[in-house]
Subunit: 324 residues, 4 copies
């Protein structure tokens, strides 16, 4: 059995995509928020990141703060230029006498220019000030175009909005046992044609060196037509599983990590959405099964999905023979 299991393992190395030669990696591979625990080096920072997508993924508060900072900075910069060109070329603002007054007029004139509100109480005259204002209003229009793109991009970025159970259970399953975790869609969208892909990462000793080996995990069902309620994803730990005969200790020693990739078609975005996460050996609960997380509404007219129960499980005995 050990022999056939090894063969199995070799065969299973195929197509995990983490590279058959990726044997010297460090730490966890995928963080639980789905990002890769990977750093890139060797090309300049600005070529390595996608600024647009970084701005799309930023938290709303941070994004809004950044907009405020940029707006203030650009106004400060142009206020400086108008002061340098002379406040006397800002008709209506030229009565300002003290520096703070001058600065204020220049600063707010800048803000009126960049937003194209242009009240005109203060207005540019002279070629230099006019040139600066003309350039600033163009920059304003371009920034606004960028802004519109960013805001639309933020709104329309397809996301899966999936909730994952915080533990992965080793539960009794068809006389044996199985790895199980649970997902649910928590927004008012509809996911169809959902597909799950699990990759197991084990850090094992080979020829005295710790290398990371990857195995695809076979699922009871890897696809469902609709992800309306909740979906318990089940990997049976049978003879075909790379985890067959693995003890709790071996799981911990090998720093087991289960990389989860979910893909579905979302009717909100009319696009494929996806979400990743990973469970590490610390998140495994041995001998437990999930309890229902939905129920019939009291009046029987609809189904009630209780999202806060996604991790609800009860402990129980595992079949003795299998845990060896």
């Amino acid at each position: 059995m050990a022999g056939s299991n090894s063969t199995q393992r070799l065969r299973d190395l195929i197509d995990t995509g983490f590279g058959s030669n990726s044997s010297v990696e460090g730490g966890r591979l995928i963080n639980s928020d789905g990002s890769t625990n990977l750093r890139k080096r060797g090309i300049p920072f600005w070529e390595r990141i996608s600024l647009f997508h970084t701005l799309l993924r930023m938290r709303p508060g941070k994004f809004f703060l950044l907009v405020l900072v940029a707006y203030t900075s650009i106004n400060l910069f142009f206020a400086g230029l108008y002061l340098w060109a002379g406040v006397e070329h800002l008709v209506g603002g030229d009565q300002a006498l003290t520096f703070p007054q001058k600065f204020m007029e220049a600063f707010f004139f800048s803000s009126q220019t960049i937003t194209t509100v242009g009240y005109g109480r203060v207005a540019p005259s002279g070629i230099i000030t006019n040139f600066i204002a003309s350039t600033e209003s163009l920059i304003g229009i371009l920034s606004f175009a960028v802004m519109t793109g960013l805001i639309y991009g933020r709104f329309s970025r397809p996301r899966a909005y999936l909730l994952f159970s915080s533990n992965i259970l080793v539960a009794p399953f068809q006389g044996g046992k199985a790895l199980m975790f649970r997902i649910a869609s928590y927004k008012n969208n509809n996911l169809t044609d959902a597909e799950a892909q699990l990759t197991l990462a084990l850090h094992v000793l080979e020829n005295g060196k710790t290398v990371t080996r990857f195995y695809p995990l076979k699922l009871e069902y890897s696809k469902v037509n609709s992800l309306a309620i909740s979906w318990t994803i089940v990997h049976p730990i049978n003879e075909e599983s790379p985890l067959y005969n693995y003890t709790k200790d071996q799981v911990a020693q090998s720093k087991m990590e289960v990389i989860v990739f979910i893909k579905a078609f979302d009717d909100h975005f009319s696009n494929i959405v996806q979400q990743r996460t990973s469970y590490t050996w610390q998140q495994v609960v041995y001998g437990a099964k999930f309890l229902p997380m939905f129920e019939r509404a009291e009046n029987g007219a609809y189904t009630l999905l209780e999202l806060n129960k996604i991790n609800l499980h009860e402990l129980l005995e595992l079949p003795a023979k299998v845990e060896n």
Copy 2:
């Protein structure tokens, strides 16, 4: 026969995606407009809905009303701020003497600021009023960006624009009978590679408890290359069907529901579009067949599709042996 039918049922449970453990649901599963008859609980309301998509799906009139309300509210709010800062800092508006006059100047100055129209008859002076106006114009620009995104998103949201017959018929079919309903595309778009997926939901007694069981329904043709005219979707009620030997009463008792999911490629959006609906046992017409809904134009030059005839059917006898 009953035996093989049960086996069939068990096998058919696979992959419907409504969850093999979803046995305690309430009421209809899918509403006829395609939304899920499901409520979610356990996480805050704002995390449960997608505001952007809610605004995209809102009816045009309601959406426009919401825009008006938001526009008025924000102007009222800023009018309050300008009044608080002092109308004397609104140059040109400072001749207003009575409170209603002051309020009016502040309110309309606000609207001129947020839309960036900025006539300038009324213009801000002083650091506080200028600061408020500068912030308001930024908010204006950002709101406009949001607006542009929402309006573009509303227009460009892929939708299937399918009309469904209001009844599902039990019609004679190849010596036996079949479930049939009809769809047609009612807009000037072209749907290709259309695909239909039907799931049957039956509420049955198992061990003294009512549970919901799901079965995929096999179709005569589940795909068509083009959805130019109309498509009659046919589920033959033969030995492979979970409805084989089901009587009218059993259909009603089990509160039968047929969940319909249509997917196609749309040349308008160059995207996959989809639409869902469901038929309940009350919508079944026993012994009927659809009548044609298109005809050659009088001059023979084109085909005329009559959308108001989508549900047109005539009653007829069903094969006696089958209805038992």
Copy 3:
């Protein structure tokens, strides 16, 4: 042979998607620009068309004209409102004495408001005029959002940009003959994973009634990895073809139509693009083959694709036995 051919035909009826019951259609099915020769009736006009997509597909000149007409109309409408409210409430425009002068001030004030340019030489005063102006500037902003969406939608609408040969040839092919036409991509984009789907429509007499029958046409190659140069799409007229043993006269009598549907992945749009057309029996050239439409550049450094040669063919004899 006739017998097996009939069987073939029956089998081939499957899955063309024009409906197995579409036997009473009129005229050509697909126009050569790819639109469907179909009219819809029975639901109101505005529900039958997609305004957004009609505006996206409109020719640029017509679209720009429509924008101009809308801009002028809306300004005329608001000019009327300002005149009704009294030009004396347009500060700066109130010196106008004659009606044409008043109208001009009102009209151009409206244009300054709706574009949010708001110079302010003319500015609103009084609650009614201010209210109208405030509403107009909101409408301006919303229209602009619509405009931005339309213009972006027009630019970014995935299109295949394919040129089709204007004739479909019956050419000698592998000892027999074949239907052939040619396509080429004429823009600076790259099409990959291209796929062709041909449906044959024949109007035949059945039980004394003219009905339309549809058959998928098998292709030599229905997919190519890349559509870099040109692609000659070939349907061999062999024993499997519904056109086997069809004479020229039969083709004409049956008003043969070949419906062509091309689908490919476009790197410009990073999306699937598609184009349809159809060839009728009048466009068939019997006994002809295409001549090359590309050549090595004089200096040998690149390939030159000559798009004006797409229909270039020479006449030749067809194998005698087959034309019967």
Copy 4:
């Protein structure tokens, strides 16, 4: 063996999509940046290019310059119109006496109009000047809509961001040898379901004429689930390969070109992204293998991908028998 190899070649001609009749091409087929080495002729230039996509693909600096040039040109044009209509109709700008002063007022009034900033120190009066200004502000709004579309389109254009090794190696592989090159994703995105497609182009003598023949190249793995780290794409040069028994000289003589097409699903864009390149016979390194380009970080907490090492390889002996 030579015989079966020829048969193989004939069979392999199928489905490369470069056209089975593309025998008279010139030079390299695909440039290393992925563009096609192809020129099109026979239809007007403007119909041959997609202006929108050309602007999307333009380098940022060039794009910004173009915007500046367009902004200046349109202001010069409208300045001319205002001068022609008479500066005396620009209220506030009418004190300008010399031509340069007049021109300046007209030019900056134009820039205030097209950006819709409209300070109003200078404002139009009279029907002609008002009409020009009204038209210009409409053009301004439309240009801005175009701008927004372009900028959003530039940001959101799906791109693969792949780095390719600059050489393609002939490396020892499973007792024989194989063609190998390496790719890595260099941005902070995640690519999944990656797929590689290789097409070999050989210029060979047939009947005394040089023709180009295309062959798909079979890969060890043509798909990987995730492209997290780096992917070495391997074509084994075994009996099934069209390059089997090809000597270095033959490779050079036939001006071998390997056309590479990579496709993957990108989580940033939630879309399929793709990238093409090609390797010519000059880029082949005989007898070499790639060295690792990633390592465990010093603290062991993450993996470090060193992008500058993508082409790092060491020279070594190839199995003697195979190189004949």
